[in-house]
C-alpha cells in the first residue's frame, strides 16, 4: 500500500486539475478514496494518441483504462464504495453506462467535432501541451477518433451523416443531464454524504463541460441551468482539489462545512481568477502575499497562512 502510485494524464486549466474527462475521473476517485497519487502531466504523447491516457504506474504494474485503474485501486484497498449497499453498487454501474451512452457522444462533439469549439479552444490547448511536431498531428487525430466514435455508435449504416445524428445526440445528452439532476436532488453526493465511484465519474464528465469556456455552448448552457449539478461540481473542486493546490493532502475530508459552502457560492464567479492566481503563487513563491488577494476559507479550515482575506 505504500508503493508509489504515479498517474500520467493530461494537465489542467480553467480551474480544473485536468481537462481530460477520464483523467479527471481517476484523480477524483483517488482523492475520494484517499489513495496517494503522484500526478505526472504528460508531454510525450505517443501514448496519448493511442488513447491510453490516463495511465497508472505502480512498481511493475501498468494499468490503462479508467475502469481498470479504479479496479486496481480497489484491490490495493483504496475503496470509496464499501459503504454502499449491493443495490447502490448496481445503480452505479447502470448510471455509468447511462453517462457513456448518452452524455459522452455530445461531449465528444462539443470538444472535438464542433468546428468553432475545436479550432478556438480544444486544439490550441492540446497543441500547447504537446511538443512540436506532434502538436500538428495529434489533435487532428484525436478529433477524427471522436468523430468516428460518434458516427459508428449513433449513425445509421450505410450512410454516415453527422447532421442527422447531431440533433439526436444533443437531445440525449440534455435528457441525461436532466436525469442526473433528478437523481441527485438536494443531497450532497449521489449516495448520501460520502462520495463514491459514481460521484467520481459524474464529476469527471461534467466538470470540463462546466468550466471550459466555449464559443458554441448549448450543452453548457443547459448544464448551467441545472443548479444542483453545478453546485456538485463546485463542491468537489473546492473541497478536494483546492486544498491540494495549497499543498495539503485532504486525507479524506468528507463533509463540506456549511460556512464554506455559503462562501463558495458567493464567490463562484471569481473562482477561475482565483485558481489562476493560485497557480502563479505556487510557481513563484517569492511574490509577497499581499499582492495576491485570494479567497480565505473560514478560519477553522484554513491552515496555510499564504492566503489572505478577499478584499471586497
Amino acid at each position: 500500500m505504500a508503493a508509489p502510485l504515479e498517474l500520467s494524464c493530461w494537465g489542467g486549466g480553467w480551474g480544473l486539475p485536468s481537462v481530460h474527462s477520464e483523467s479527471l475521473v481517476v484523480m477524483a476517485y483517488a482523492k475520494f478514496s484517499g489513495a496517494p497519487l503522484k500526478v505526472n502531466v504528460i508531454d510525450n504523447t505517443w501514448r496519448g494518441s493511442r488513447g491510453d491516457v490516463p495511465v497508472l504506474t505502480s512498481e511493475d504494474n501498468i494499468v490503462s483504462q479508467p475502469a481498470k485503474i479504479l479496479n486496481f485501486l480497489r484491490k490495493q484497498k483504496y475503496n470509496a464504495d464499501y459503504e454502499l449497499s449491493a443495490k447502490q453498487g448496481a445503480d452505479t454501474l447502470a448510471y455509468i453506462a447511462l453517462l457513456e451512452e448518452k452524455l459522452l457522444p455530445a461531449m465528444l462533439h462539443t470538444f472535438w467535432v464542433e468546428s468553432d469549439n475545436y479550432f478556438s479552444v480544444t486544439k490550441p490547448w492540446f497543441a500547447s501541451q504537446i511538443p512540436f511536431p506532434l502538436s500538428l498531428i495529434l489533435p487532428g487525430r484525436m478529433s477524427k477518433g471522436a468523430l468516428n466514435r460518434i458516427l459508428l455508435t449513433r449513425g445509421e449504416p450505410p450512410l454516415y451523416h453527422l447532421r442527422e445524428v447531431e440533433a439526436q445526440i444533443y437531445r440525449d445528452a440534455k435528457e441525461c443531464l436532466n436525469l442526473l439532476s433528478n437523481r441527485l436532488g438536494t443531497s450532497q453526493f449521489f449516495f448520501g454524504d460520502t462520495p463514491s465511484t459514481l460521484d467520481a465519474y459524474v464529476f469527471g464528465f461534467l466538470a470540463p463541460l462546466y468550466k471550459v469556456p466555449f464559443p458554441k455552448v448549448q450543452l453548457q448552457e443547459h448544464l448551467k441551468q441545472l443548479s444542483n449539478l453545478c453546485r456538485f461540481c463546485d463542491d468537489i473542486l473546492n473541497s478536494y482539489f483546492r486544498l491540494s493546490l495549497e499543498g495539503i493532502s485532504p486525507a479524506g475530508q468528507e463533509t463540506v462545512d456549511a460556512n464554506l459552502q455559503k462562501l463558495t457560492q458567493l464567490v463562484n464567479k471569481e473562482s477561475n481568477l482565483i485558481e489562476k492566481m493560485d497557480d502563479n503563487l505556487r510557481q513563484s513563491p517569492q511574490l509577497p502575499p499581499r499582492k495576491l488577494p485570494t479567497l480565505k476559507l473560514t478560519p477553522a479550515d484554513e491552515e496555510s497562512n499564504s492566503l489572505q482575506r478577499l478584499s471586497p
Binding site: K87, A90, D91, A94, A97, L98, E100, P157, L179, R183
Partner: protein
Amino acid sequence: MSLVAEAFVSQIAAAEPWPENATLYQQLKGEQILLSDNAASLAVQAFLQMCNLPVKVVCRANAEYMSPSGKVPFIHVGNQVVSELGPIVQFVKAKGHSLSDGLDEVQKAEMKAYMELVNNMLLTAELYLQWCDEATVGEITHARYGSPYPWPLNHILAYQKQWEVKRKMKAIGWGNKTLDQVLEDVDQCCQALSQRLGTQPYFFNKQPTELDALVFGHLYTILTTQLTNDELSEKVKNYSNLLAFCRRIEQHYFEDRGKGSSSISLP
C-alpha cells in the same frame, strides 16, 4: 429523423388506435437470425405483449434492409414503420399505452440507466461473441447470416457485416478485449441486474416495464441459444433470481396467450 418530423409522426400516431393487423418483421427464425437480433426482437415482442397489443411476427430474409434504421426488429403499424425498442416505446406511448407512467422521476431515471446498462454491456458482449470470436464466427455466424442468399453473396454480406461490427468495437474500446474479459463484463452486468431485481417479481415491483421486456429478451435468448460453448449462458445461470424472472415472464406472457413463439422451455 429531425425533431420536426418526429413530432409530426407522433401526432399522426396519436390519431389512430392500434390496428389488428400490426406486424413485426425479423429475420428468418430457423436459419438466419443471430443471437443479438433475436434478443432485440424478443424484447419488442415481450413489450407489446405486456401492453396487451396484438402483433403478428413475420420472418423475412431481408428484414435488416427493410428497416428504416438498418436494425431489426421493426413494426409496421397502419402506415408507419418504426424500428428498435426505444422508438417503438415512444410510438406506443403516443398511442396512449405506456408501462412506465406510474414511475416517479427518480425511478424513470433508474429505468433508463439500467436499459443503457443492458445495451452497453449485454448487447455489445453478444455482438462481440458473434462477430469477433473466431470460433463462433466460423462455425455459426457466417453460415447463418448469409444462408438465404446464393454464393458468393452470402460470403460477401457476412464479411461486410463482420467488418462493420469490428470497426464499431474498435471505436468504443472493445477491440482489444479478450473473450474472458467480455465474459467478466457480462457477469458484472448480470450481477448488477440480479442485485437490482432482488426478490421482487419485476424490476419496479408489481408492474412490468420496458426494462423487464428488454432484460427478458436478452437473458432468455442467451439461455436458450446454442453456441459453440456454453460459457455465456453459464454466467447468467449463476443468478437464480434472473432465471426465475425469465420463467415468470415466459409463463405469464407467452404461454398463457397461446403464442408458440417461445415454445422451448427453459432448462
